[in-house]
């Protein structure tokens, strides 16, 4: 199993409060890694440390390293926008940009000037909407505002927008928590399809979803990684008491 992301001695503080305590984990390439744990345990913080979103909050302090194929993304020489291009994020709530469906998908590509002409952009929009499973539903109204879509469709649009900048990694911050069951299922099956090509890291608060998706599991509690390993091992035979309690639904 090849390691894609390696987190080394990561500590995160919000002001004086420590949100992550000495986190050391490895995230495998082209697998789905699920971060789970009770709310407030730091799973979202860990996720957002991977695309340097933590620094958007005032007063956040970060020490340690996050290595992406061996490069520390917190290195001074590293371009944060390149990091975020390589590491895509699917947010908790769908956040369509206030523009048309088409422009939403084009947005990132345009930012990075990835295509040469309209024809290429058009082809790319179709390609990524198809990947996200949205093309059939929207190809007749590409120039409608993105906000006219249903919540579930919006989330798939955000997925297409994220994929369009050709990332290697997809982060999902409870990406289905705002969606109805059918839309959730839809997103989940997209993510499973996509793991052939992308390293995927998902935060979830539902154990069932973790069991459905995970190849690899990280269990966190109070800012610490308690246990990490192959999903089948952790779910069937947890090594730690806390993990066992969580899996049994004791808290």
């Amino acid at each position: 199993m090849e390691t894609h992301i390696q987190v080394k001695n990561l500590n995160v503080y919000y002001g004086k409060q420590q949100a992550l305590k000495d986190v050391n984990i490895e995230i495998p390439k082209k697998q789905i890694t699920v971060i789970m744990g009770p709310s407030g345990c730091g799973k979202t913080t860990l996720l957002k440390s991977l695309n340097r979103f933590l620094e958007l909050t005032d007063g956040t302090q970060i020490t340690g390293e996050v290595l992406l194929d061996g490069t520390n993304i917190y290195d001074r020489e590293v371009d944060v926008t390149e990091v975020r291009k390589v590491v895509g994020l699917l947010a908790q709530r769908p956040s369509p940009l206030p523009m048309s469906i088409y422009d939403n998908v084009v947005y990132g590509m345009n930012i990075h000037r990835m295509k040469k002409d309209r024809k290429e952009y058009k082809a790319a929009v179709r390609h990524y909407l198809e990947i996200a499973g949205l093309w059939e539903e929207v190809h007749k109204r590409l120039h409608d505002p993105a906000t006219s879509l249903s919540i579930g469709q919006q989330q798939r649009l955000c997925l297409a927008r994220g994929l369009a900048v050709e990332p290697e990694i997809i982060l999902g911050d409870e990406p289905t928590s705002a969606l109805d069951p059918i839309s959730s299922q839809n997103i989940e099956s997209r993510l499973i399809d996509l793991k052939q090509q992308y390293t995927t890291v998902i935060v979830t608060h539902t154990l069932r979803q973790a069991k459905r998706l995970a190849d690899y599991v990280i269990y966190m509690y109070m800012g610490e990684v308690i246990e990490a390993g192959l999903a089948k091992d952790v779910f069937s035979n947890p090594q730690h008491e806390r993990t066992r309690q969580y899996l049994e639904g004791l808290f």
Binding site: E82, V83, G88, A91, L97, I111, C158, R161
Partner: protein, 327 residues
């Protein structure tokens, strides 16, 4: 169902009847308070009506077009041409707003999008103090610093490089004039414009910022492509609000603008804005026929323009801020 039946129905547990002293006190208070809230609305109406009534004599004596487009101001001869004053007001306000808007926009973007809490907590008192400094102190500053600066630095520079362009030509080399007044006004209206723009920027939900940053946009790309299109109307409203403050500013402008009733052709010319006209002549306005009506009609014109500017911009700003509360 009568009250007595109701009381029987709720057997034992008596519902308090509607007219206890306490509820009566509440109703009375509500009515009194309500009258108080009428006060602001009534006040606007009274001020407007009073000025209309008092300017009627001159509006009846001369056709409106003569007053607005008349170029000669000789109250003793019965000539009341407001054009030089209207244009003076316009020039001074325009220069002030043009100078103020670019830095104010940049500062408000910086404070809303880039600055750390520390920078913000430094900028807030600076803006508060700028807003607190009295107009007359701005006037003194203008007199001591800006007028000489315009005279000794900007005017020679302009003669050298921009002399061919008529609005930059130096015809009256004193330093007193539209540019000096514009610079002073720009600083005076900056705190208001910046704080309104800052509020407007903070109405944009963070989700949008994050969505753009997540695909690898730089912050400026995010601001240009996502945030600015969202706040357009609010920014315009902030500028209009700033302009309306500049329109009515009296003492500071009066002290540096030169007060020459002429039709300005260059930013280095002296001018004579409406507020300065009113302030300088109130003393003798009762001695000449129609003079008081003329000055009060000048106040009326100012008031009406400012009311329109204010109401329009406030409506836009209030709507944008409510959107923030709602989301």
């Amino acid at each position: 169902m009568s009250a007595s039946q109701l009381i029987q129905k709720t057997a034992g547990r008596l519902i308090r009847p509607a007219h206890t002293p306490r509820t009566r006190q509440n109703n009375f208070a509500q009515r009194t308070f309500f009258v108080f809230t009428l006060l602001p609305v009534i006040l606007i109406l009274i001020v407007t009506v009073a000025l209309i009534v008092r300017s009627l004599p001159i509006l009846n004596a001369y056709p409106l077009s003569d007053l607005i487009f008349g170029k000669v101001w000789k109250p003793t001869n019965g000539q009341f041409g407001f054009l030089p004053f209207i244009l003076g007001t316009f020039w001074v306000t325009a220069v002030g707003v043009i100078l103020a808007v670019p830095p104010c926009l940049l500062v408000s973007i910086y404070l809303a999008e880039y600055a750390h809490a520390k920078t913000r907590s430094f900028a807030k008192p600076v803006l508060d103090l700028l807003a607190a400094i009295p107009p007359v102190v701005y006037g003194v500053w203008g007199l001591l610093a800006i007028v000489p600066f315009v005279d000794k630095v900007l005017a020679p520079l302009s003669t050298r490089w921009l002399g061919a362009v008529s609005i930059f030509s130096v015809n009256q080399p004193t330093g007193f004039g539209i540019l000096a007044a514009g610079i002073v006004l720009a600083v005076m209206i900056a705190p208001l414009i910046i704080s309104v723009m800052y509020e407007i920027f903070s109405t944009v939900p963070n989700d949008l910022r994050h969505a753009s940053l997540a695909v690898g946009a730089t912050q400026w790309q995010t601001i240009r492509n996502i945030i600015l299109p969202q706040v357009g109307p609010g920014i315009i409203a902030a500028i209009v609000l700033g302009a309306s403050r500049a329109l009515g500013e009296t003492i500071a402008v009066l002290m540096v603008v030169g007060n020459v009733p002429q039709i300005p052709t260059s930013i280095f010319d002296s001018a004579y804005p409406l507020p300065a006209l009113i302030a300088n002549n109130y003393g003798e306005m009762m001695s000449i026929p129609l003079y008081d009506a003329a000055l009060l009609s000048a106040a009326l014109v100012l008031l009406v323009v400012i009311l329109i500017f204010n109401i329009l911009s406030m409506l836009v700003i209030q709507r944008m801020l409510r959107r923030k509360w709602a989301s």
